[in-house]
């Protein structure tokens, strides 16, 4: 057979077949080439036997077998390839490798920009190793990386100019609200400043989500993908952080061994630059490994749902048995906020990994148990606090914590009701999914209220 580079229909068909095969992660380009040689041999033989090229191609493809089955066989033989995917992902997947390479370049450039950005204010005389400038950094740390992360997704998903504009506007407004309110010249943060620093990333995470989902923010599936992304990013971030900790320990230790103090390098450079750059790198890793390895968040959820349910139940039983009241002197409200947040996380990641079509199972029962016990524990705490809340006075911290508690309580309460109805078979699982994804903006809106309205409400204290 002679190779013709002209675009005859057979070449076009082979081209298409090759592109389709290349999308399989376990089949390397070099294997594709080998298979293509085979296909061409088969086609040539069939044509020689008197078939038309079209017919020959169809039969050759059919004889080659189902691509799914073939790529499964390749995956079984080359299981290591699925792991290598993590590092060299783009090369093996179907995307043209130039695009994948440019994505890697974009991500690492953005990580670098984030790392440089955090040092940029130093040029203007702001230094976070000095106490007075610390509040500035804490208020603004979201802005060193979240706009870049949003930009990455805007670029990757090819968002429209209009969405682009809205997101930019949101960030501009956030910068404004974080910095226009009068702030005392001191090295400690005021209460409202601390609240702003804590709530700003939550509010802006919505912008990241809209960019991440591309045009799919309006759909349950798009938002659920973002929930998955957030969980995976968190896990990756913790892992990168662990690695970074080892690096830092070695840096300090090794230089201490030769009598050189390296702590300032760690504090001024390694730690801040690494913390921000890692957000970008972590996000890229989550993007790159999508669908290759089973996601971690649902696995951890499966492991910890039952232990948490048991702990809360035992706690409730002890509460009743001993007749003790919850000690409300401490910041118990925040502790219960965190508990509800954790339960929400367990619920979200169970939902994200669950097959909506599957019938209720034992795990669902445990989850409902966890939901209900957490709700009861929280309501006991709330009842204790409500009785004496006027005594404490309304500080910004308490109002923020109370608001969050109510928001989470409403979410989990309705989730529990929907879940019970699902267990009884009166509604489908997708109702719970829709409720959760629909609720996502509420967190960000409340966070925005805390950032925007609390400082003037509480006299910038």
């Amino acid at each position: 057979m002679t190779v013709t580079e002209s675009r005859d229909p057979l070449e076009a068909q082979i081209e298409q077949w090759r592109a389709y095969l290349r999308r399989r992660q376990a089949v390397h380009p070099v294997d594709v080439e080998e298979l293509e040689d085979h296909l061409r041999g088969q086609v040539a033989a069939l044509v020689a036997a008197g078939l038309s090229p079209d017919e020959a191609f169809l039969i050759a493809v059919k004889r080659m077998g189902a691509l799914d089955a073939i790529s499964n066989e390749f995956a079984r033989e080359h299981s290591e390839r699925l792991w290598k995917q993590l590092v060299v992902a783009p090369d093996i997947s179907g995307e043209p490798s130039s695009k994948a390479r440019s994505e890697m370049l974009v991500v690492f450039t953005l990580a670098l920009i984030a790392a440089v950005a955090v040092k940029l204010p130093t040029l203007f005389g702001l230094d976070f190793s000095e106490g007075e400038d610390l509040p500035f950094y804490i208020r603004n740390f979201s802005f060193f990386v979240l706009p870049l992360l949003t930009g990455y997704f805007v670029w990757k998903r090819g968002l429209s100019r209009r969405t682009w504009g809205w997101l930019a506007l949101a960030f501009a407004a956030a910068v404004l609200f974080a910095n226009v309110y009068p702030s005392e010249e001191s090295s400690t943060l005021s209460d409202t400043e601390a609240l702003t620093a804590l709530h700003l990333p939550i509010a802006l995470w919505l912008a990241v989500g809209i960019a991440y989902a591309g045009g799919r923010w309006g759909q349950t599936a798009g938002r659920m993908d973002f929930v998955r992304f957030s969980g995976e990013l968190f896990i990756y971030y913790v892992l990168i952080g662990l690695g970074g900790g080892v690096l830092i320990a070695f840096t300090i230790g090794m230089f201490a061994a030769i009598g050189v103090d390296a702590e300032w390098v760690v504090q001024d450079w390694l730690l801040p630059c690494g913390m921000l750059g890692a957000v970008m790198v972590g996000s890229w890793l989550v993007e790159a490994k999508q669908g290759v390895i089973e996601n971690m968040a649902p696995v951890l959820t499966r492991l910890f749902t039952a232990p948490f349910a048991v702990t809360i139940l035992v706690f409730l039983a002890t509460l009743v048995w001993t007749g003790r009241a919850i000690d409300i002197e401490r910041d118990v409200l925040i502790a219960f906020d965190l508990l509800l947040l954790l339960v929400l996380g367990l619920l979200l990641y169970s939902i994200s990994a669950r097959d909506p079509e599957a019938p209720p199972g034992a795990f669902d029962l445990v989850l409902v148990l966890l939901l209900i016990s957490a709700l009861i524990a929280d309501m006991v705490a709330l009842a204790n606090i409500a009785a004496r809340i006027s005594e404490f006075g309304f500080t910004p911290n308490r109002v923020a914590a109370l608001g969050e508690n109510v928001i989470l309580l409403v979410n989990l309460g309705w989730s529990a009701a929907l879940y019970l109805r699902f267990l009884r078979g009166t509604n489908s699982f997708s109702r719970i999914e829709r409720w959760q994804t629909g609720y996502l903006p509420v967190y960000s809106i409340w966070a925005a209220i805390v950032v925007i309205a609390f400082p003037p409400l509480f006299g910038y204290g």
């Binding site: 057979m1 002679t2 190779v3 294997d31 080439e33 080998e34 298979l35 040689d37 085979h38 061409r40 041999g41 088969q42 033989a45 050759a60 004889r63 080659m64 077998g65 189902a66 691509l67 089955a69 073939i70 066989e73 390749f74 079984r76 033989e77 080359h78």
Partner: protein, 123 residues
């Protein structure tokens, strides 16, 4: 006739090794040879040959080299290694044993009943 899947899978390794032992060859030619040898009865899904070839390569029984086909296109040729030769000999002995046993029983079955004494069953 459809040949049992397990049987096809089991016979694939010795068949491929033996065909490569005949002389350096490549994927499509191996399948053509299989079809020739079995009179077209032994049909594999073409794509499934390659993972098997790669496994044999990883095990060190064969080695693959990229050359070029008569048309100038890149083509991967396979050659049997010393280890592969040894493996082939071993497989051959095993298959011959199975073959002998089967031949004997086919022969016994074709004889009239009672002409051979079956091994007595224990109660």
């Amino acid at each position: 006739m459809d040949i049992n899947k397990d049987l096809v899978a089991a016979s694939a390794t010795p068949l491929i090794l033996a065909i490569i032992a005949e002389g350096d060859t490549y994927g499509y030619a191996i399948l053509k040879r299989v079809s020739e040898l079995s009179g077209g009865e032994l049909q594999w899904t073409d794509g499934m040959l390659y993972p098997v070839l790669h496994r044999l390569e990883r095990q060190g029984y064969i080695e693959g080299n990229w050359g070029s086909s008569e048309s100038g296109r890149r083509r991967k040729y396979y050659r049997i290694t010393k280890q592969g030769q040894a493996q082939l000999t071993e497989q051959r002995e095993q298959w011959q044993m199975v073959d002998t046993a089967l031949r004997n029983i086919w022969l016994a079955m074709s004889l009239p009943a009672g002409s051979i004494t079956p091994i007595p069953q224990k109660d």
